[in-house]
Amino acid sequence: MEVSASSDERRLTLYLRGELDHHGARGLIRRAEQEIDTSLPLQLALDLSGITFMDSSGIAVVMRCRQRMRELGGTVTLCHVPAQPRKVFDASGISKLVAIE
């Protein structure tokens, strides 16, 4: 699981690559919270185009980010979601809580 970040104005984008499972999620949550606390964005975009596999651990990551962004009065958006993670999001009902671009 690799993460890179870019931020412009008040939008922070995290680009995630690799397999997002329980094994990878722990480090990702830590990294995402660090990035959020550093740039204090109003919008967090999680770019999933490089995700090759995701299970429900990804839902926990998104919910955790959503909670942190709500504390900042901001929102979370998911971008470029491949078909397999998309199916996991749809089955979990998270599509109702978080915008998917």
């Binding site: 397999e19 094994h23 596999f53 979990s92």
Partner: protein, 148 residues
């Protein structure tokens, strides 16, 4: 019980690095049924949830044994069994509820919900102190039988 056409059994230690291994093993075994990419994704996701549950919940403070049994029965049905000899689940019905988790903020509580929605059948048997057996079945129809 339906006739077994092929099976493998793999035992591994409850290390989280083995989540990825279990997915590759399940996908590799299922490949002989010629699944679609979508079905392969379902298989990998479901086995990942079951193995992660065993790693996180069955053996929270120790390393233990996990047995993954993959079986193909007549009619192109893939059966995946994940067994552990860990802590067990006190209340299976409650554990299967969406969003229920004892795993803290790193877990979503959606594991069983995802296994249920991605597989045709899901059975969970557990005895506290003895372990848990999760069995999932999914029919992979052959493409010759009118699939795309």
């Amino acid at each position: 019980m339906k006739r077994t056409e092929n099976y493998v059994k793999i035992e591994f230690l409850s290390r989280s690095t083995n989540e990825g291994f279990a997915r590759i093993a399940a996908a590799g075994f299922a490949a002989q049924l010629d699944p679609t990419l979508d079905e392969l994704g379902d298989i990998k996701t479901a086995v990942s949830e079951a193995v992660t549950n065993a790693i996180v919940h069955a053996y929270p403070d120790e390393l233990g044994r996990i047995l993954l049994k993959l079986r193909i029965t007549e009619g192109g049905v893939l059966e995946m069994t994940v067994r552990d000899w860990g802590r067990g689940i006190e209340n299976v019905e409650q554990a299967r509820q969406p969003l229920y988790t004892t795993g803290g903020a790193e877990r979503s509580g959606m594991g069983f919900t995802i296994m249920e929605s991605f597989m045709d059948r899901l059975s969970v048997k557990s005895l506290p102190g003895k372990g848990t057996t999760v069995t999932m079945r999914k029919r992979i129809a052959t493409r010759a039988n009118g699939r795309r």
